[in-house]
């Protein structure tokens, strides 16, 4: 049954907790990560949200259903996570999904056959695949543009355009979109705006503050942070959109399991410390890479010569922990991948352990060679997600791998 009950009482609970502890002013982000309203179980005082492994809930009274009646429609553990991310992103309502792709595919269901969408051209390969092979069949058309150039975005507007989908920094070349500029224009045109905030997390960037309607996360990455939970999150800026996303989440059933909801919250508590540490290491690593003559190109928004750095600094409080760099050729990339000892050679990113990926054969393999090259995802490009290891160990490991690869 689709009873739409609205958000749980947790938002109010946060305020009560804050008032009780004498917090008059708005709490800082680092504090909100730990004091989000769900940190204490009201029934027992337990120091973390219980895992409610129940699919259904008893009705005391036929015509007054309980807050949650079926776990697909709402589960207390998942609800705590959903309220948590809504609070962190500054939206009105949050949603947890089985994966980042489930969050993205469910959000796209807001559209209908005949609608057109403008999408950032170096979008994640899985999103590209969803758009070009599944949504296209459902009559949704998408145009991929360089979102860093507002004129290009404007040029592809059609009478049936309904939405703009951004990723910034983009994956893997870390191009910067001016969130405010695109969103302001989209609003003038009456378009829905969606933004994948996976790389920055709300710790560094809160797109809703710039008017973005729906913020999406692959929470498998930095939010979860431990390579042990597959999850997606979405946050709606308005009540109306929140209601629509709720109907879709319930109707499609793409929800996150309760144990994973709990694990994700556990990971999120350390978000600020993890991000800050990884960013510091990433800055040092990027500078070191840039100083090497055998590295052709380094992409990192924190580098002084990174195109879009100024725009990025206007909208984000940090540069994140993902660096991409070109080692010169596909052959050399393969040698490096086979020689590194510390980072995990794998897909995914945003974990406590460093992960080195090869976009051409991994995250962006779904894209096809021609499109991939057009978007700067060259055969020599590697993506480094900087973890919590000591950065000098990471540098030494890369140094030995580079030196032995020609």
């Amino acid at each position: 049954m689709s009873i739409d009950k609205g958000p749980s009482g947790l938002e109010t609970q946060t305020k009560q907790v804050s008032a009780k502890r004498g917090h008059e002013e708005e709490l800082r982000f680092e504090t909100k990560l730990l004091h989000f309203g769900g940190e204490i179980d009201r029934a027992t005082g337990a120091s973390s949200v219980p895992i409610y492994q129940a699919s259904t809930f008893h009705h005391e009274d036929v015509f007054n259903p309980p807050l949650h009646d079926y776990s697909r429609s709402g589960n207390p553990t998942r609800q705590a996570l959903e309220d948590y991310i809504a609070l962190l992103e500054g939206g009105v309502r949050g949603f947890a999904y089985a994966s980042g792709m489930a969050a993205i595919s469910s959000s796209f269901m807001l559209l209908s056959a005949g609608d057109h969408m403008i999408v950032t051209e170096d979008v994640y390969g899985g999103t590209y695949r969803l758009l070009t092979s599944i949504l296209s069949r459902m009559g949704i058309e998408s145009t991929f543009v360089d979102m860093t150039d507002l004129d290009q975005v404007k040029a592809v507007l059609k009478p049936n355009t309904k939405a703009v989908y951004m990723e910034t920094p983009s994956n893997p070349t870390l191009k910067i979109t001016d969130i405010g500029a695109v969103t302001d224009w989209a609003k003038e045109q009456g378009l829905l705006t969606l933004l994948d905030n996976t790389f920055m997390t709300p710790f560094y960037q809160r797109p809703i503050e710039f008017g973005v309607d729906i913020v999406i996360h692959s929470a498998t990455k930095f939010l979860g942070g431990h390579s042990d939970v597959l999850a997606g999150l979405a946050v709606a800026r308005t009540q109306e959109l929140g209601d629509q996303l709720k109907q879709l989440q319930n109707g499609l059933g793409t929800v996150l399991g309760v144990q994973d909801s709990w694990l994700l919250m556990r990971g999120m508590k350390t978000l600020s410390t993890r991000m800050a540490h990884s960013e510091q290491s990433a800055a040092k690593l990027a500078a070191w890479l840039q100083g090497r003559s055998d590295i052709e190109q380094v992409y990192y928004p924190g580098l002084l010569n990174h195109p879009g750095r100024e725009v990025h600094e206007k909208q984000s409080s940090g540069y994140g922990a993902v660096i991409s760099f070109d080692v010169g050729s596909g052959e050399r990339a393969k040698q490096v991948l086979n020689r590194v000892k510390l980072p995990l050679v794998a897909v995914s990113l945003g974990a406590v352990e460093s992960i080195l990926s090869y976009p051409a054969m991994m995250s962006h393999a779904a894209m096809g060679e021609k499109v991939r090259h057009e978007r700067g995802i060259t055969d020599g490009l590697l993506r480094f997600s900087v973890g919590l290891e000591d950065v000098d160990d990471l540098i030494a490991d890369l140094d030995q791998a580079f030196s032995a690869s020609n």
Partner: protein, 394 residues
């Protein structure tokens, strides 16, 4: 001599058993990992990213495929997620033929979401081959059946429908939630795709939300793998483990659900507060014969109508042992009021045409002792009759 295949009870009990080669652990471990190290570039252990494939989920998926006599299994975050993944096979301009008496969530998905993408559906009595043929259009791509249906327990002849579907090159999809492969295996009767809300009997404990898809045929299995990975509504590793754990006792539970349901349904047929009882296990049920032919047993849920709609509220208030909640298929008994709960999304005219009215209650019979369930119901029905008659008299 040809080796005799294991009986289903043995295969169920040993799902995931002794498959872990490193430590010999008898139960398969929960792999909570999302990423998998590549031994060398271009080499894979078979696992790259948990959305695409996770070792724990794979054991579950392979077991489901094998139990349903299919070629590939896919575990999803809910029954509705499984259904959505299947429906993504279709696109703009496609048409589906669907069982008239249908779970409300399936109806909602078709009418509120798939319809936006140009997929249309016609609802027919799938046991009426003339009605099926009459609803077929040049753009019809598939037929979707629930048997028995929820909540009215109408039985469809799976083999007849699948044969008809094959003749017209339609994909046949069977929702096997209520019977499970322990009692019924639609792929053996010609179905292309079987779907489960595994939240129900497969999980069996009202504690895991999950959906299962099983496909037959290489092409369909590959297409489903693509959709499953691309849409990403996959089941978590911990819930995959919980589901396998539940499935190990499926045979025992189903046998008890069936015997309890038969006992309680039989009791209700004689109760003065009760009008109709809908249970294919009763000899006078119109689908009894087809059911016995295509299934080796009966489900644990049935529906019944109280004689007076005013009994409903006090009955639900007075039941003590039986919980009033949505869902079904768990070890605990649950009572549902379909008109306001599971089927609220189906328009009144369709609901009334098929008989989901305000006198109908659905009972998911658990594995408690049948006599305790009968006593609880008897007391609640007696109290409801007394209240209603008392207020009428006053």
């Amino acid at each position: 001599m040809e080796k005799k295949p294991l009986n289903i009870e043995s295969r169920l009990a040993q799902i995931g058993s002794v498959q872990e080669p490193v430590t010999g652990a008898v139960n398969f471990p929960i792999y909570q990992a999302t990423a998998y190290r590549h031994p060398k570039l271009g080499q894979s252990t078979g696992f790259d990213y948990a959305r695409t494939k996770n070792p724990t989920r794979s054991v579950l998926e392979d077991a489901c495929a094998e139990l349903e006599s299919g070629d590939a299994g896919f575990a999803c975050s809910s029954g509705m997620a499984a259904l959505q993944t299947i429906f993504a096979l279709f696109g703009q301009g496609d048409h589906l033929i669907v069982s008239l008496d249908l779970y409300g969530g399936t109806y909602r998905l078709l009418e509120r979401i798939m319809s936006k993408f140009g997929v249309t559906a016609t609802y027919v009595d799938t046991n009426d081959l003339d009605a099926l043929e009459g609803s077929r259009r040049p753009n019809t791509k598939a037929v979707f059946i629930e048997t028995p249906t929820n909540p009215l327990m109408m039985v469809t002849d799976i083999e007849a429908v699948c044969t008809w579907a094959r003749r017209h090159q339609l994909i046949s999809i069977v929702d096997n939630t209520l019977l499970t492969p322990y009692f019924q295996r639609p792929i053996e009767l010609g179905a292309d795709i079987v779907i489960h809300s595994a939240t129900k009997y497969l999980g069996g404990h009202n504690d895991v939300l999950a959906g299962i898809i099983v496909t037959k045929g290489k092409e369909l299995s590959e297409e489903m793998a693509f959709l499953h990975n691309s849409i990403g509504a996959v089941l978590s590793p911990s819930d995959s483990y919980q589901l396998m754990r539940g499935m190990k006792t499926l045979a025992l539970r189903m046998d008890r659900h069936e015997s309890n349901a038969t006992a309680v349904a039989t009791f209700l047929t004689t109760h003065p507060a009760i009008g109709e009882v809908y249970y294919p296990g009763l000899p006078d049920h119109p689908g009894h014969e087809i059911q016995n032919r295509q299934s080796s047993g009966n489900t644990g849920i049935f529906s019944f109508k109280v004689k007076d709609a005013r009994y409903v509220e006090p009955v639900l208030r007075h039941i003590k042992l039986i919980a009033f909640a949505e869902s079904l298929g768990g070890v605990e008994s649950l009572m549902t009021y379909p008109a306001v709960q599971t089927h609220a999304d189906i328009p009144l005219e369709i609901r009334e045409a098929i008989g989901v009215d305000d006198r109908l209650l659905r009972f998911s019979v658990g594995i408690e002792h049948a006599d305790d369930l009968i006593a609880d119901l008897d007391a609640a029905l007696g109290a409801a009759m007394a209240e209603v008659e008392g207020s009428t008299g006053a």
